[in-house]
Symmetry: C2
């Protein structure tokens, strides 16, 4: 039986041929992991016309032997790129696809020198990203588990939302619970923002203590078996005033509209527009200062981006976040974020945390 890795390499080779390239080089961790299963922090992977080769260093000798079956492994003492170059010299006269958005100017320069002039370096634009954006059933199963874990953590920390608790304490509790449930860590620095600080979409937890009658935004992501989830909930500590309830309902309606718009064949921009137009209808458009969502998988930001005007068409088994929000400086912010799978029917929502306004 072929492994998913060799099947992924095979699909990539097909795309490479269409782009007139013979081989593909990546140094990007998530791409290396996707193509051969290696999860060490330093590696180069070359997908060749037949087979694949992985270079890493001696810290990972045993790990590479354990993880990698679908690529020949070479343990390198010096520069990985020099070793890649040497291999390319032997293959000679190859068109090597490389990731212009990942490889640095210096790396390309070193590779050109090491591989010699017979090798042609060809930018391949988002070739692998496009492949990764369409999840396999096995990946969706893992992402469902990751999202279930994140949702569980949200429910578990609700009792800790008490007067006097500090933002960073809640963040610590959230990340601790992720870990205890088996996550390898947070997918990003957990956001906990109280009161007027919730108006910062990317607030970093501070010493700020919770007081009665404040908004609480929790934005958390866990990595479980390499796959990320990303979940935001906004709760009110106390009884929410009418204005806050109104905003919450508007954001919820916007998110529901994005869910309904999510299907194969629509553009990413149309999903953004679905959420945005609801907030505009409620005269909250100018408070929605970011895009509606982003792809999710081995990385917490992947293709496709659900931003205004994006013409990219969605496909079945894209997995994206849907996270409209409103942010009013000096008052507070509200964001509701779920992870969703594009399917031919209704979007399948992976996150399971309650979505209605919780007043604690």
């Amino acid at each position: 039986m072929r492994t998913p890795y060799s099947q992924r390499q095979e699909r990539l080779r097909k795309a490479l041929r269409a782009a007139k390239a013979d081989a593909f080089l990546t140094l990007h961790g998530p791409n290396v992991l996707y193509l051969c299963g290696f999860s060490g922090s330093s590696a180069a992977l070359l997908v060749e016309p037949r087979g694949a080769r992985l270079w890493t260093d001696s810290r990972y000798t045993f790990q590479a032997a354990e993880e990698v079956a679908s690529a020949g492994v070479r343990i390198v003492k010096g520069s990985l790129l020099a070793a890649v170059g040497e291999r390319l010299r032997k293959l000679s006269a190859l068109h090597v696809g490389f990731e212009a958005s990942r490889l640095t100017v210096q790396q390309l320069q070193l590779l050109r020198k090491a591989a010699g002039s017979k090798v042609r370096w060809q930018k391949v634009h988002s070739l692998l990203e496009a492949q990764r954006a369409v999840k396999e059933p096995g990946e969706i199963a893992l992402m469902q588990k990751s999202a279930a874990l994140g949702s569980q953590v949200f429910e578990d920390v609700l009792p800790l939302i008490r007067p006097g608790v500090r933002e960073f304490e809640l963040a610590a509790e959230i990340e601790y619970r992720m870990r205890r449930l088996g996550a390898s860590g947070p997918a990003f620095e957990t956001i906990v923002a109280f009161g007027e600080r919730s108006a910062l979409p990317h607030a970093r937890p501070t010493q700020r203590r919770l007081r009665k009658n404040e908004l609480v935004v929790l934005d958390l992501g866990a990595i479980l078996r390499h796959y990320c989830c990303d979940l935001t909930r906004t709760v009110y500590f106390g009884r929410a005033p009418a204005r806050i309830r109104g905003w919450y309902q508007a954001v919820l309606e916007a998110q529901t509209a994005a869910r309904s718009a999510l299907r194969p064949g629509v553009t990413a921009g149309q999903v953004d527009e679905a959420a945005r137009s609801v907030l505009q209808k409620h005269r909250l458009g100018r408070f929605f200062t970011h895009s509606t969502g982003h792809g999710l998988g081995l990385e917490v930001h992947e293709d496709p981006s659900l931003a205004a005007g994006q013409q990219q068409k969605l496909q079945s088994f894209n997995v994206v976040t849907l996270e409209p929000g409103v942010y009013v400086q000096g008052v507070g912010g509200i964001r509701i974020e779920d992870d969703a799978v594009v399917t031919p029917g209704e979007a399948r929502i992976l996150t399971t945390a309650r979505r209605e306004l919780l007043e604690l």
Copy 2:
């Protein structure tokens, strides 16, 4: 009074002039933070002949206003690089230093196009890294606090090293305690490795339970107010057999030798050699499979690298890890790591955790 940021910019300008460049562009988070105090996840900073300019997006409007005094802030709707290019067109005929080891092939291409042909793009090699490698008194004070926090966490989790505890549970406890003590998060994925798994220098915590008479390697790093610490201790759960004691003493002796070798004017390679030759004397040289240490600061791996043959000379107020180890496949590994400041006298050790072999 001038801020440390404007002083840092001024020092950089001096180095730029020596490299025949007029301005410096960076997109690298830690470099942006170092030069202007902005800690958001997406930004471009241009240090100009006079003044500096920061571009970021609307998620960070308030944060940038709060954090940045020593650069003009521009909030950009579209591409940051397009905005940088526009600015460069106005300045015209500049030599802009860029980081070839950070900027991607695609980014440079976009910048060239956006800035027009009058701007000359000049690779500057590790210019800012060299500056960052020599820590200011204020930075060392922060790093001392970070190292004290890491050391405290090590001592705090010792009572949790009990039969049946799982590797990932200990990792969760370690990261939780960091957070509770005020860290913004771990500087890297915490390593907890029991028994034969300690032979993997970069072991990822698993479900593996601790049994009696096993080695335990804990390698942890915290980020406190943006500065990293990095600490490894190896303890024995039970009474260590003579062979393990022998290895431990050899690693300890190697680390002490590295400490003694650490002073301004010696090469990084000489410090590595000091540790390595001790292990060779004990016939353990072939089990020491990585380098002796690395610089530490805003990033967990910085300049200088204490690797074999490195000719770079150390300077006062470099901060480095010293972390020799031995790794015997099928048996286990031992690593002892501290963080040290190069000073004209004896190296100043920032980490305070006990260094003798603890048998629990």
